[in-house]
Structure formats: C-alpha cells, structure tokens
C-alpha cells in the first residue's frame, strides 16, 4: 500500500467568507463537486452518493469556521486511508485562495478524488461568479 498526497488550489476573485459559505457547508458539497449527486449530513457523519449510484460514508473531522478549514475522511472500504482538507485563505478583501488537499491510500484513489476536486474548485468559482442573487445579498 502507498499513500498519495495531491493538492490543488485556485485563486478566487471572491471574498473568503462568501467562498466559505459554500465550501464550508458539508451539506452543499454536491452543488460543486463533480460526480456527487446527493449528500446527507447527520452530526459528524456525511453520506455522499456518487454518479454511479455508489454511496460512500464519510466522517467529518474538522469543521472550523474561524480558520475556514474543513477536513473529512471517506470511511468506505475502498480506502485504507483517506483525508480531504479544504482551506480557504483570504488574500485581501476581495479575493482568496481555496486549497483542496487529498491524501489517500490506495494512492490511485488520491489521484481520482483530487482530479475531481480540481474541477470542483472551478465549479465553485463559477457558482460564485454566476450567483447574482448572493452577490446582491452581500452588498
């Protein structure tokens, strides 16, 4: 077994708190992460449903609104180990950097999850850019 660790980031021209509003809400993951059709949060547990119908259980490890850090573990048997980390760091008053880190064993799954996470960051950016109503609410 081998651990894979892959990090993707994207600079977003949106306020950090606006990004965190979505990225930091575990119940909204399916809105921006490709291939996830549904997710349900119950306490520190989350169940995600994949595009192929597979349901994967997850454990929420860290949900820190101050640091704007979210960490979770996929606990499905497919993984010997998994830890996903989403960090949102303000760059200035109108932009931030979102970092999505995936560590997994088998390492092949790190590449697969991280590949989707890179697309997720793009989707997140587009959601915020297109979300006129949210923009209006915050001004």
């Amino acid at each position: 077994m081998a651990l894979g660790s892959i990090r993707h980031h994207r600079i977003l021209n949106h306020r950090a708190d606006r990004v965190w509003e979505i990225a930091g809400d575990p119940a909204r993951l399916h809105e921006w992460f490709p291939g996830i059709t549904h997710c349900v949060v119950e306490g520190a547990s989350r169940k995600i449903t994949l595009g192929n119908g597979l349901v994967m259980p997850e454990e929420i490890v860290v949900h820190d609104d101050l640091q704007m850090r979210f960490q979770y573990r996929i606990t499905a048997p497919l993984f010997t180990f998994h830890r996903g980390t989403i960090d949102v760091i303000a760059l200035d008053e109108s932009s931030c950097i979102a970092i999505y880190t995936t560590e997994a064993d088998p390492r092949a799954m790190a590449l697969v999850v991280a590949g989707a996470s890179s697309e997720a960051l793009v989707t997140l950016d587009e959601m915020l850019t297109n979300d006129v109503s949210l923009e209006r609410q915050t001004h």
Partner: protein, 518 residues
C-alpha cells in the same frame, strides 16, 4: 454512394507481430492479405506511446501537445475536434465499437461521458451513444469489469465468466504484478473463458451486428477497436495450443546475457536502468511491484506466445467482419486501415509493458491501408519506408471520404508510395512523452527522419535536461548503441534537434490536470 471505411485498431501491438512485417510467430493471413493489396508502412510511429494520448491523436488528427491529453489520466476535452464528427456531418453513418479510452477508465464518480454511456441505473437498457461524432458506441476493455458494454454483456449473459479474467489491478489499485501461466510471468493468466465469450469475438460480433442495420446504399465509417493484445495476456486457454511457448524463439531485442543487457541499459538515460532494477516506475501501467531484472527467458517466451495467440484471434475476428462486409456487397467500395495505438517492449532490453522509452518496440507500429478496390485512386500495392504517424490517420479518413481536411488536423493523408511521400513532405515523425505522477516527472521529445531516431530529455525526476538517445536505424535496428554522446555524431544530433524543435506542435488549450492514473 461513396467509399465505406473500416478503421481497425488493436491495442499495444508491435510491428513485428504481423506476417507481412516479417513476423514468424503469429499467423495473420487476413491482415497480410490487406497489405498485399494495399499500402504497408514500414516506419509508422505514434505521437505518444501510451493509450489515451495516442487514441486522442487518432480521433483528432492532432499531437498530444495540441489536443491536450498529455498523459494517461488526462481526459480529452469534451469539445475536442473529432474526425468522426467530420464524417458524420458529411453524411456518413458512424460507429466506434471496442476500446475508446479518450477519458479515464478509473472513474468512480462517473464523471466522464465515455463511462456514462452505459447508465448503471438502467440495468439492461444500456445506451449506445452518441459519443464524439460516433452515432453508435459500444465499449470494451481488457476484462469483464468496469463501465463497458462488454462487461455488462458478460455480467448479464455469462456472469460465471467475470472471475475468469486476470485481475488487472491489485487490492492497492496498482497494476497487478501477480504472475501466472507456466512461468509466473506478470500479467499472464490462464483464462478458461470460451473463445466465443472473449472480447475479441464480442467486438467483431457487435461490429457485424451494427453493419447489418446499415442500408446498402449508405456510407459508413466504423472504428473497430480490439482491446488485445494489450496485457493482461489472458487469451482463452483453449486457444493456447496454437503456440507452444517452449518453442518460441527469444525476440531479437532480448539480450540473453544479463551483463551485456545491463551494459546496453547503462548507456541509455538513467531511468532505463532504474526501472530495470526496480528502483523507479514512471508509468502507472507497469506493475509497481515487478522488477524487470527478475524476468526469465522463459517468461519472455510465454508472454510472446500468448501475445501471438491474441494477435491470431484478432486476425480471424477481422476476417469474420470482412466476410460480413463482403456479403453485404460492400467489398469493392471498402477502405480498410489497420493499425494500433502503440507498441509493447515484449522482452526488448529485458523489459515488458511500456513507458518513456522511445525505441522501436513501442514506436514502430503496424500500419496497413487497403484502399477500396473500386477507388480510382488506387495505385500499385507498395511498401512505404518514409516516416508517417498516427496523426495522419484522421486526414486520410477525410481524404477517403472526399471531404476537405480540416485546418485543425496536423497530419496529412498517408502517402501511397515513397515518391508520393517525398512529394508531399513526409520527412519526419514526432513523438512526445510527458508524465507527472506521484512525484515522478519525465519529459521526452523524439524525431525520426532520414533513418535516425533522436530523443531529447527535458529536466525531470531522473534527468537534468542534457540526456538523450540517438540511434542509426539501419546499422542498429535494435537501438542498442546510443550515439547521443558520440562526438562524431554531434553535428547530426544538433541538426535533428533543430528540426525537432522547429516542428513542435503548439497547445490549443490550457494544460489540463490528470484526473486518474489511467
């Protein structure tokens, strides 16, 4: 009514596995017959020596740097151009049956269209396209697992066969190093599946079925894409009587004496020896837990025997498809192109599989074009020695169909003889390798022209950017003498590199990230 087009590809097949190319192990009368009646290319190279980039080159007519699939696991963009779309727009019926692999196979999120054609929520009602200009798409890969039509067919009709195939990935989702057969060679397995259930037969059957629904006066383009003879080497065991592995001669490229073998490897850039000794695997498709230096001569024999059986089964399956086409009355109007996506080391230098190694085992491909006998363009059958590439396939398909070659295609229609090649500037063929996987980064650029192959390495995990390979194909057909550092060839090397960089293709889109290992 125009010409009908059958593009036949195999996966990972060497030039020397066909009888018409001098191969003695496999009997390939069908492809040999096509070669005898058409054009046989002696120096056809892929633009990448792994599946996804190479297949993306076939469908787009572009180099990997341009279409953007720079390594396995990088998906071809959904809006990438497609020769199938060009032909469909020209009125052709279009189908791709067999292995596609423009998008990653390992796709648990079902993100990619290729894997969503079969809707797992609709058991028993599998979709069949459209996909990238193919109105009809039925998929197959190397076994009975995954989101493929063949896997669905096996699960539905012959579920007992699912476990008969070799398990391509191990429990750690690495390419399996487990050995089998008589010699314990990696990715070798005794598959007790009946021949008629094997994917080679299924791909031919489905092609015949699709063609049966085409009206006699319709034009059609079918990409018949066999998953074999790519590893795992697990053809139906009932067919193994064809080739006794004990009697298989060792390949010319296999250096029996380990000291001599290691001397040759030591003269190449260091990732060659690193892989051989098990210190570095730079391509996911080579088993992580297998050390090439441990491979025995008998294992090389057995791998070659099984490969030969798979090649024979393909030849016979193609024969069935051609007979069905003949029975429909299309024989005189049929163009057939036969090729593969890349080669296989298959024992050369004591190595198996593939990776960043730009030598004939991986780069010299079988390529045959048998034009429609009724075509006015037919000239005498010939062998073409000038360099051509898979990038030339899509423009050739356009030429056959009588449609203009789109500007976005970077190749040109295949020449029909050497004089034609010279007239139209088929001087060189380029091949690229880029990979960045789990901290290992490798970048190669190669040119083949005037009987030489020259490869330059850019800085990466094992290279500082000064390394390279230079081979004289006439005097050193096995590429065992690296002249890169030979002062007497410095001028030639410099000229080849200048030509290589002068003709580098440009990217057409931002660099995409890998989404999966394969």
């Amino acid at each position: 009514m125009g010409r009908k087009i059958l593009l036949v590809t195999t996966d990972q097949q060497r030039f020397d596995t066909l009888g018409c190319n001098g191969g003695l192990l496999s009997r390939t009368p069908v492809v040999d017959g096509l070669a005898a009646a058409g054009y046989r290319y002696e120096r056809a190279h892929p633009q990448s020596v792994v599946c996804m980039p190479s297949r993306s080159t076939i469908i787009t007519g572009q180099y990997p740097s341009t279409h953007g699939v720079w390594m396995n696991g990088v998906p071809l963009a959904p809006d990438a151009p497609s020769v199938a779309e060009v032909l469909r727009s020209a009125g052709y019926r279009t189908a791709l049956i067999g292995k596609a692999h423009f998008e990653p196979f390992l796709d648990p999120f079902a993100r990619f269209a290729e894997n969503r054609v079969i809707d797992p929520d609709l058991l028993g009602s599998a979709g069949s396209g459209p996909l990238r200009g193919f109105e009809h798409f039925e998929s197959a890969a190397h076994g009975a697992m995954g989101a493929f039509h063949y896997a669905r067919w096996i699960a539905t009709h012959h579920p007992e066969a699912i476990g008969m195939f070799y398990r391509v990935l191990d429990a750690a989702l690495e390419v399996n190093a487990a050995g089998g057969g008589a010699t314990g060679a990696p990715q070798v397995h005794d598959n007790v599946i009946p021949r008629e259930w094997y994917h080679t037969e299924w791909v031919a059957d489905r092609t015949i079925d699709w063609l049966s629904g085409i009206d006699a006066d319709e034009d059609w383009f079918c990409w018949l894409s066999f998953p074999d003879p790519h590893h795992p080497w697990d053809p139906p065991v009932e067919e193994m009587h064809r080739v006794d592995w004990r009697e298989v001669p060792l390949p010319a490229g296999y250096i029996e004496d380990p000291a001599a073998r290691e001397h040759v490897l030591a003269d190449k850039p260091r990732h060659w020896m690193s892989w051989y000794q098990g210190d570095l695997v730079s391509n996911y498709e080579a088993p992580l837990d297998w050390v090439p230096a441990t491979m025995t001569a008998d294992q090389v024999r057995e791998v070659n025997a099984r490969n030969a059986v798979e090649v024979e089964l393909i030849d016979e399956a193609l024969g069935r498809v051609l007979a069905a086409i003949e029975a429909k009355g299309w024989g005189e109007d049929l163009d057939v192109i036969f090729t593969t996506d890349h080669g296989e080391l298959q024992g050369d230098f004591g190595l198996l599989f593939k990776g960043p190694y730009h030598v004939d085992g991986l780069m010299r491909l079988p390529l045959i074009w048998r034009p429609a006998p009724s075509s006015a363009a037919v000239v005498a059958p010939s062998s073409i020695s000038r360099p051509v590439g898979l990038v030339d396939i899509a423009p050739t398909l356009c030429a056959i169909a009588g449609v203009a070659v789109p500007e976005w295609m970077q190749g040109q229609p295949l020449p029909v003889d050497d004089a034609d090649a010279d007239r139209r500037g088929h001087e060189r063929v380029l091949t690229e390798w880029d990979s960045e996987l789990f901290g290992v980064e490798v970048h190669l650029r190669s040119i083949c022209r005037d009987g030489w192959v020259c490869t330059t390495y850019q800085a990466g995990h094992s290279h500082d950017g000064t390394e390279g390979e230079l081979y004289n194909l006439a005097e050193d057909p096995l590429q065992q003498v690296n002249l890169w550092s030979d002062p007497s060839h410095a001028g030639l090397r410099s000229d080849l590199l200048a030509d290589l960089w002068d003709h580098q293709p440009l990217p057409s889109r931002p660099l995409a990230k890998a989404q999966a290992p394969v």
